[in-house]
């Protein structure tokens, strides 16, 4: 019974839930060991997510770029590619969107879409490089996209420093015509920083689902992801599909940067380190089983955990770093789902063998 369940498809859906539960249990144990009351800790955490409209709005705001970077990784993953360069694509997307916001003026109806588009295009371009190298020269996309992360970070930093510096470490603010901030959304959430980007992210999740499962291109992307030879045999343009699917993935990532730049912050600053939005996106996609709904849910979890951690400290005195440990453990448990199967099988055969 249990054995069949471990092999079944349901298990694939249950894995994320088990992983989250294990992560939270482990977090409770750590709180106990460090002399805190886990019940207080977690009620503080939950209060920090749902406690009032402000917290809730901040959670939604935090999950917005995570949805998009999660979609970026998942889209590539579904088509057989490992886009480890989401982080770099987020950075260039952020940069391009803000620059398109501050360097000219136009009515909002034109200005905002152009700025968003600039972000998506920059991300797409950044992902196009590993895509085309993979398609034409069979260079592994993981290596190229990792290198592109560093190039993105340093090029963007030096451009800000050299050309666009306004006050301190950052550029000027984007004007209202290119801003995603929404008085209405702020109003209903008690003046959180929630912005229109949240709706863009939800729409993007629908777009990815539609693209993969409803369009001809999606059929081809998935086919190429599974079996390049058979795709070639069926007359698909294999290298073209690799490049475009990598670019689309990059466009999602670029949007993740754009909504941060045009929504949450309104500027870009010199980054001391990576933003981590891209790397967290990988975790979001993994936990969300690379499906649109899964990604929205797991982005909510990750966004909620990191937003709630502040209140957890205030209310229960638990260090916010604990949340990072919990997130790390959740990822660990997802990755080790196959380990769970293996351990179970081992135990089972030992038990049967001795009987």
């Amino acid at each position: 019974m249990i054995r069949d369940f471990l092999r079944s498809r349901a298990f694939g859906l249950v894995v994320p839930l088990i992983a989250v539960a294990f992560g939270l249990i482990a977090g409770a144990v750590i709180m106990l060991l460090s002399g805190n009351n886990p019940i207080d800790g977690y009620s503080g955490l939950i209060g920090g997510i749902f406690g009032d409209m402000y917290y809730f709005g901040e959670t939604l705001r935090a999950m917005t770029p995570l949805i998009l970077s999660g979609l970026a990784f998942a889209f590539a993953f579904r088509t057989g590619l490992l886009n480890i360069g989401v982080e770099g694509q987020v950075i260039v997307g952020w940069f391009a969107a803000v620059i398109a916001g501050i360097s000219w003026d136009a009515p909002g109806i034109i200005h905002l879409p152009t700025a968003l588009m600039a972000g998506a295009l920059a991300g797409a371009l950044w992902a196009f490089v590993p895509g085309i190298l993979k398609a034409k020269l069979h260079v592994h996309e993981v290596i190229v996209s990792i290198m592109m992360n560093y190039i993105a970070l340093h090029v963007v930093n030096s451009l800000i420093r050299g050309v666009f510096l306004d006050t301190g470490q950052r550029t000027a603010f984007v004007p209202d015509s290119a801003s995603l901030s929404s008085e209405w959304l702020q109003g209903v959430t008690d003046f959180s920083r929630l912005h229109w980007g949240f709706l863009i992210a939800l729409a993007a999740a629908v777009v990815m689902w539609f693209l993969l499962w409803k369009t001809k291109k999606g059929f081809e992307f998935r086919a190429v992801g599974f079996n390049q030879n058979a795709s070639l045999y069926a007359g698909m343009n294999v290298s073209g599909n690799i490049t475009s699917s990598m670019s689309i993935s990059g466009a999602f990532a670029g949007l993740a940067g754009a909504v941060s730049g045009l929504g949450t912050y309104g500027y870009i600053e010199i980054f001391n380190t990576f933003t981590n939005l891209g790397f967290d996106g990988i975790a979001v996609a993994l936990l969300g089983n690379s499906s649109s709904i899964g990604i929205v849910l797991s982005a909510f979890l990750f966004g909620g955990l990191s937003e709630g951690s502040g209140n957890m400290q205030a209310a229960a005195g638990v260090a916010p770093e604990l949340v990072e440990i919990i997130i790390a453990l959740i990822i660990f448990f997802v990755a080790s789902s196959y380990l769970i199967r293996w351990i179970y099988k081992r135990l089972d055969s030992i038990r049967k063998g001795e009987k």
Partner: protein
């Protein structure tokens, strides 16, 4: 009791299908026991149960009279059961020796003792006459040698009971002959063998007893001696089977495919197809006969746009299609049943429905303005599944979980249904049961009778002789002779395939 293996009343279900329904199999010590049944009858499933890959819902397994619980392949290993799978399980980048010892490596002071391993492998391979190159990488050796590596793997682990799941489907006639003598050696050394095969001749030649299953149920176990091929086939299919292909005179028409001075390079840059000339006309089945490795694979790949043409020309209906991309070749009117169904024929992680429409998904009504209509796609797939008798739980089942023969039937449905002007069938009946072979041969003849051209490439002489109207013999990349199928026989063909004509010509 002198049974080494007893599987009593085994039941195994998959979602939507009962693969094994109360099957009993008893194998005697020292015999070769055949397991016979149609595609999808449940043979591989039953063997996977014995090998511990699947757990039965019901039934008991006894090994040497003792009841056992085979929870995973390691347990099977300890019980002395070894399996050579229908699709090999070797690591491509590893050498033969590394693959053989994988999982039970000999150690000295904590490190793998590769020299000892190589010596052991050499010793076993000499003892049973299993020729392998211990240091060659799997990706570089022939299918026959890969299989010998698989057999060695089981022997290395000391298996006493060997399961062979369709070992001959992917082998050349010469390799099959060698495998037969290997199996005899194994029996002489005291091993017992369970053999799954669709080739009734092989059963008659080498097996002692045969257990027949049909649609998941056991039909019975009989001694092979005294059984005719027809008798076996009837027992398995449950109706009469004709081995002769029924066909009338060919109504030959215009030339459909014309190859002029075609040269194609293989992966090493060698002209494996070497100034080949050939015409195929509408209304005929042209068989290409030859020993494996004489350029058949590369020829077909070049014809279908999967491999570059170095020089020469390919024309279809008087139109030059040399260097066309695969999609354009398909749209020009070519259908292709590929030799390697897992490499080219199927996307294993797509549903069987998606696979059946793999050549048409982008056309109306399946795609409108870039949007897929999956409902239409599955409707079409379901009607073909019905017509071609593809046994699957549903059209949404992944191709991966279909039995080997039913995967092949799905490909055939896809390629034949489009009714292309030229149908290229490379080893179309590999791994199929006699009933399905009959069905596919009839389909090829039907295409021919409706005025299409059929190019049949097969390593099996029986198939070429039975189905073709004309037979072109390929040798070292050239067509050395074209004979009328009615005026030739196995002996003449065999001689020609071995390059006999050139020698005969030189002697004159």
């Amino acid at each position: 009791m002198d049974y080494v293996i007893e599987m009593n009343n085994i039941r195994k279900e998959f979602p939507g299908i009962v693969a094994n329904d109360n099957i009993t199999l008893q194998v005697k010590q020292g015999e070769i026991h055949a397991l016979l049944g149609e595609n999808g009858a449940g043979k591989s499933t039953l063997m996977n149960v014995l090998f511990g890959l699947y757990q039965p819902e019901q039934g008991e397994i006894k090994v040497r009279g003792e009841k056992v619980d085979v929870t995973d392949p390691n347990v099977a290993d300890r019980l002395g059961i070894g399996m050579v799978h229908q699709h090999f399980m070797l690591v491509e980048k590893f050498t033969v020796t590394e693959n053989i010892i994988l999982g039970s490596e000999p150690k000295s002071r904590g490190a793998i003792d590769i020299n000892k391993a190589r010596k052991d492998v050499k010793e076993i391979s000499d003892r049973y006459g299993l020729r392998v190159d211990p240091d060659a990488k799997i990706e570089d050796i022939s299918v026959g040698m890969q299989q010998r590596a698989e057999i060695l793997k089981t022997l290395y682990r000391g298996s006493e009971i060997l399961i062979f799941d369709e070992p001959t489907a992917a082998l050349t006639p010469q390799e099959i002959y060698e495998l037969m003598s290997i199996m005899r050696n194994l029996i002489n050394e005291g091993k017992s063998i369970i053999l799954i095969t669709h080739k009734l001749k092989e059963i008659q030649e080498i097996c002692d007893r045969v257990t027949v299953i049909r649609r998941g149920k056991g039909v019975g176990t009989v001694d092979v001696e005294g059984m005719t091929e027809t008798g076996l086939a009837e027992m398995m299919v449950g109706r009469e089977v004709t081995f002769e292909v029924q066909k009338g005179e060919a109504q030959v028409g215009e030339t459909v495919l014309n190859l002029k001075d075609l040269v194609v390079e293989d992966a090493r840059g060698y002209d494996i197809v070497d100034h080949l000339n050939l015409e195929v006309k509408s209304g005929e089945i042209l068989g290409v006969a030859g020993v494996d490795g004489n350029g058949q694979t590369e020829l077909v790949e070049a014809l279908t746009g999967l491999r570059e043409v170095k020089s020469g020309s390919i024309s279809l209906n008087n139109k030059d299609i040399t260097d066309y991309k695969p999609r354009k070749v398909t749209e020009a009117g070519v259908g292709h049943i590929p030799q390697d169904r897992h490499k080219y024929g199927l996307v294993m992680d797509f549903t069987i429905g998606e696979n059946i429409l793999l050549q048409q998904y982008y056309q109306k009504p399946y795609t409108n303005n870039g949007i897929m209509d999956y409902k239409k796609l599955y409707e079409k797939a379901e009607s073909l599944i019905e017509e071609y008798d593809v046994r699957t739980a549903s059209s949404h089942t992944l191709a991966r979980s279909l039995s080997g023969g039913n995967q092949q039937k799905a490909i055939i449905a896809r390629e034949v249904d489009r009714s292309p002007d030229l149908l290229i069938a490379a080893q179309p009946t590999r791994g199929l049961d006699v009933g399905a072979i009959e069905f596919i041969h009839d389909k090829l003849v039907e295409e021919r009778d409706s005025g299409k051209a059929v190019l049949l490439v097969s390593l099996e002489m029986d198939e070429v002789l039975n189905v073709s109207d004309r037979i072109a013999v390929i040798y070292e990349g050239k067509i050395v002779e074209i004979v009328d199928a009615k005026d030739t026989d196995e002996n003449e063909l065999g001689l020609l395939m071995a390059g006999g004509k050139q020698e005969a010509g030189e002697a004159e």
